[in-house]
């Protein structure tokens, strides 16, 4: 009975949504309200105003910077949430009696991973720093770093990973995205503009493009580092078994 009601509800919802879809403006038409109202300015002026060739990056970091501040706060919040639920390791390393994958890792895999991981990190740095020109940006790069750490962990185990990226480093860098963003925002106020203004009115016109570019890079790096550390910490917290902490040697 309950199942039937739920199914009916979902079916009805689907039909309603499809009906709404049929009434929506046709997809892809250049005359749609979405194409004519706010967006033209982004497309035409972003290069001059936000100094980012990649308009998406311009919008993310510059026009809608506060959303991105919210975004990095969300991911930071997720970390805190996971830690609040699962707890965090004590100072020191995580003992390694958890074999994450059932596959015994061969020498070939180990060597390959050890060789590839540095390159992945390098690639992610490129993604972070090149975000304003090509697709990519801080968060994507951070995610890639996180993924590389995950590969490392699956192959070499939690113990070695927690040695490579110790708690000290993570605790200091997890919040770096929020902190950088906040400081950049405050700098905007000090520079005579509003919070999160990149082009400080107090700085002369000629310096502003460089300023905006450098601040963007700064923020991207902050997001990248913070995001990567958050992903690593979340992974550690989830992989770690209860009571698997090793006291500081």
């Amino acid at each position: 009975m309950k199942r039937l009601v739920s199914l009916l509800f979902i079916g009805a919802l689907a039909l309603l949504l499809l009906y709404v879809v049929s009434k929506m403006p046709p997809m892809g038409e250049p005359t749609n309200p979405t194409m004519t109202h706010v967006v033209p300015r982004y497309l035409e002026k972003s290069e001059g105003e936000a100094h980012a060739r990649n308009v998406v990056t311009g919008v993310i970091i510059n026009y809608r910077g506060f959303d991105t501040l919210g975004e990095v706060t969300v991911i930071y919040c997720a970390l805190a949430a996971v830690l609040a639920v699962l707890g965090r390791e004590k100072r020191g390393r995580i003992r390694d009696y958890v074999e994450l994958s059932g596959i015994p890792s061969s020498v070939i895999v180990r060597t390959m991973v050890a060789l590839v991981v540095p390159f992945i990190v390098l690639f992610s740095l490129y993604v972070i720093l090149h975000g304003e020109m090509s697709p990519g940006g801080g968060f994507q790069g951070g995610a890639v770093i996180g993924a590389s750490m995950i590969i490392f962990t699956t192959v070499f185990g939690l113990h070695l990973s927690s040695v490579k990226v110790p708690l000290k480093v993570r605790a200091a860098l997890e919040g770096s995205a929020v902190i950088t963003f906040f400081l950049v925002g405050i700098a905007g106020i000090l520079g005579g503009g509003n919070f999160l203004a990149y082009a400080w009115p107090r700085v002369s016109q000629s310096l502003q493009p460089a300023l905006v570019t450098w601040l963007t890079v700064l923020v991207e790096v902050g997001i990248g580092l913070g995001g990567a550390m958050v992903f690593v910490s979340i992974l550690f917290a989830m992989v770690r078994e209860e009571g698997a902490d090793e006291p500081l040697a």
Partner: protein, 85 residues
């Protein structure tokens, strides 16, 4: 939309998305679901690339197909693999 190669590809991708989503939801083996979900995410990334959103495609590939999948896998290894009767 006039039938063109692009449109056909989109239709194909979308139907694959539907299929993988339904399979991921209905499979009783959680590991299979997760892998299917990973495939779904990758297809989604492709779809977004088709819709001219390369940033998102990159992100979805790294986060949706990568990190989320790994988190799911960790969770499954920490719990159990098969759905209970």
């Amino acid at each position: 939309m006039e039938p063109s190669f692009g449109a056909l590809l989109n239709v194909l991708l979308l139907s694959l998305l539907l299929v993988t989503a339904l399979l991921a939801v209905s499979s009783r083996d959680l590991l299979a679901s997760v892998i299917l979900f990973s495939a779904y995410s990758l297809l989604m990334a492709l779809m977004w690339q088709r819709l001219q959103a390369p940033d998102l495609a990159l992100t979805e590939a790294a986060v949706g197909a990568g990190i989320t999948t790994v988190l799911f896998l960790v969770a499954i290894f920490r719990t159990r693999r098969r759905e209970e009767e």
